[in-house]
């Protein structure tokens, strides 16, 4: 049985311009210990998907519906808010993009760490403090004991993100969700953090959902990838399959738009023309059609269904892009 099973997840938001379908009928599985990448640009729905799984979407104005949303044997849709709070932080944890905003600026780092430990792991103050020091050392923060008494603003961006990871992994969750966790960091710091996450999650067998728009980071970290556009998953597959045999117009466009530091990109980038989709009007056809360069006649007639392109590799696309 998969660790996380998502079927038909749809999240809508009521706005004064209409109903925005941020997540539109998303389904996927996540196995124990697997690292799944969620790739897409702004408005693709990747962050809202994660928030929906963590039951962090405020309803109203949001509305989360799913045929099935089970995690570690639990039906997340059926749980009460109190029951979900028990799980959050303990069995599933999330790391966000801006650690300055996720950490409370007026509480010491030690306090925020021990708070989580005492809440979920039921440790007394001394034991929690010892564990907190261990955790800070594990994530590579020097002088861990002294740093317990420091405040978030006294850490650099990379260090703060390490603290966030320490907090997230403190209770050994089965699932870690990282939402653009390294996007705001310098590239050398990003390399350190990605390396850290890889090591720690492999050691503990933690499953990871890594959300990013950066195909390079995804390529170096993930086992499988879901590509999202306009709130839907348009392609899903093992990492090498996806990069070497992209099978959806959008995936192809993304790869063509991305410059490469090893210079193997063509002289001119092939951007995806046009503007990001409007999430208010429901699309009976493929949402990417207006911008797609490889569309075929069938695209204008009906909505694409999932097609298999290899082992556990599918795309919702009529075109045959990679032979």
């Amino acid at each position: 049985m998969a660790l996380l099973t998502v079927r038909g997840l749809t999240t809508r938001f009521a706005t004064d311009r209409g109903t925005v379908r941020a997540v539109d009928n998303v389904s996927f599985d996540l196995e124990e210990g697997e690292v799944l990448g969620l790739v897409g640009e702004s408005g693709s729905g990747k962050s809202v998907t994660a928030l929906s799984i963590m039951r962090l979407v405020s309803e109203p104005p949001g509305q989360v519906r799913a045929e099935q949303l089970s995690f570690d044997g639990l039906d997340l849709m059926r749980l009460s808010e109190a029951e979900v709070r028990e799980i959050r932080g303990a069995r599933m944890a999330m790391v966000f993009q801006d650690p300055m905003r996720s950490l409370n600026p007026v509480l010491t780092v030690g306090r925020q760490l021990t708070e989580v430990l005492r809440r979920h792991a039921d440790l007394d103050r001394r034991a929690a403090r010892r564990r907190a020091i261990e955790l800070l050392e594990t994530v590579g923060i020097p002088n861990a004991e002294r740093r317990l008494g420091a405040y978030p603003h006294q850490f650099s961006g990379g260090m703060r993100q390490r603290v966030m990871i320490a907090i997230a992994l403190s209770c050994n969750p089965r699932l870690l969700i990282a939402d653009e966790a390294t996007t705001a960091l310098d590239v050398t710091i990003q390399a350190q953090i990605v390396d850290l996450v890889k090591r720690l999650t492999r050691e503990r067998g933690t499953a990871v959902i890594w959300i990013s728009h950066d195909l390079g980071v995804i390529a170096g970290l993930c086992d499988r990838v879901n590509v999202m556009y306009a709130g839907r998953i348009v392609e899903s597959g093992p990492i090498r399959e996806l990069f070497h045999r992209p099978s959806h117009g959008y995936t192809l466009g993304l790869l063509g738009s991305t410059p490469r530091v090893d210079g193997s990109q063509a002289r001119r980038l092939s951007p995806i023309e046009g503007l990001p989709p409007n999430l208010i009007d429901p699309m009976p056809l493929c949402p990417f059609l207006p911008r797609c360069r490889v569309s075929v006649a069938a695209c204008r007639e009906r909505a694409p269904q999932r097609r298999a392109f290899g082992d556990r590799h599918w795309a919702a696309c009529f075109a045959d892009i990679s032979p």
């Binding site: 702004s42 590239v187 050398t188 710091i189 390079g216 990492i239 790869l255 530091v261 210079g263 995806i272």
Partner: protein
């Protein structure tokens, strides 16, 4: 030919909480007509400040900025304003660089008005022509910035810069805040404009992948100084300075096979406080091959042939 722009020993210092932050500490380079210099580095390296200093948006503390042999640092008032036509800038946040209460037509028209470049009906025609040049439809003249997407707003910013007919444009993280598909559109646009109009660019970015794509030459900055400079192909294939090497190895490549076999050079620790940089070579506190001698003196540039140089006393070492 003499370069279009020659920056000589540029210094920009700020006073902050009692200490002096030397954001730009002795930067020199030249840009030729129609060429692109990529200025790369991580946060706090001073690349954006260098751009502002060149354009005199922030007045340099010392040094010269020679534009066609005229030192911009010595200009003021009317003379400086007239020179501003030649050197333009595009900012990172496209929406923030447009006055939210001015419609697009007026935003572009303002550029023409400031230098008296067109009036009346000719002005309107020119505005539409310029919008067309950056790929925007004429009806956007009446729209306000908040009605445009990030990519469209950035095109308007480019349009304004082009309106005054510059010869050099500083692109300060101009595509960093855009989605990758829009980023590619803007990069292509900038390259097209360069070909058509013979523009020179100083392309400031932390994104080494984009810089490789657009630049002819690249300068790598760390804590206010340039540590290495070379033609693009050389710096990406045979980087010499340990920081450049670490930087290159840290950039992820969208190819799982490449990623699986990469050896990353991980730097220790964090960026030092710019108000109190390390003595001697500033990079020594994080450098994997630092030796005690590195603390003694700031390394002079070592020539490596073909205009390639790097500031390190241990260039022969293999990382």
């Amino acid at each position: 030919m003499t370069s279009l722009l020659q920056v000589e020993d540029l210094h920009v210092h700020f006073a902050a909480q009692g200490a002096t932050v030397k954001a730009v500490d002795g930067v020199s380079f030249a840009v030729a007509r129609g060429r692109t210099l990529g200025l790369v580095g991580e946060s706090g390296c001073g690349k954006s400040t260098t751009g502002y200093g060149i354009l005199q948006l922030v007045r340099p503390t010392a040094g010269r900025v020679l534009y066609r042999d005229v030192d911009l640092c010595s200009l003021g008032g009317e003379a400086l304003r007239r020179m501003r036509r030649k050197l333009q800038i595009i900012f990172q946040d496209s929406h923030a660089s447009l006055n939210p209460r001015m419609p697009i037509g007026e935003l572009v028209g303002e550029a023409l008005d400031i230098h008296g470049l067109a009036r009346g009906a000719a002005r309107n025609a020119r505005v539409r022509e310029l919008l067309g040049l950056v790929g925007l439809a004429g009806h956007l003249i009446e729209r306000y910035p908040h009605e445009l997407s990030g990519g469209q707003a950035q095109r308007v910013a480019i349009c304004r810069a082009l309106a005054v007919e510059p010869e050099l444009i500083v692109c300060d993280e101009a595509v960093s805040a855009l989605d990758v598909s829009i980023q590619a559109q803007i990069v292509n646009l900038l390259q097209d404009l360069q070909e058509r109009l013979g523009l020179a660019y100083i392309f400031i970015s932390h994104d080494l992948s984009v810089v490789r794509h657009v630049s002819d030459e690249v300068a790598v900055m760390y804590l206010g100084k340039i540590v290495e400079m070379a033609a693009k192909e050389r710096i990406y294939t045979v980087p010499a300075h340990p920081y450049t090497k670490a930087l290159m190895s840290a950039v992820p490549v969208p190819d799982p096979d490449v990623e699986a076999t990469r050896r990353r050079i991980l730097l220790a620790g964090d960026l030092p406080n710019p108000a109190n940089p390390p003595s001697g070579c500033r990079f020594r506190t994080r450098c994997p091959i630092a030796v005690p001698a590195c603390a003694d003196v700031d390394p002079p540039p070592q020539a490596l042939g073909g205009g390639h140089w790097a500031k390190c006393i241990r260039l022969e070492e293999r990382l």
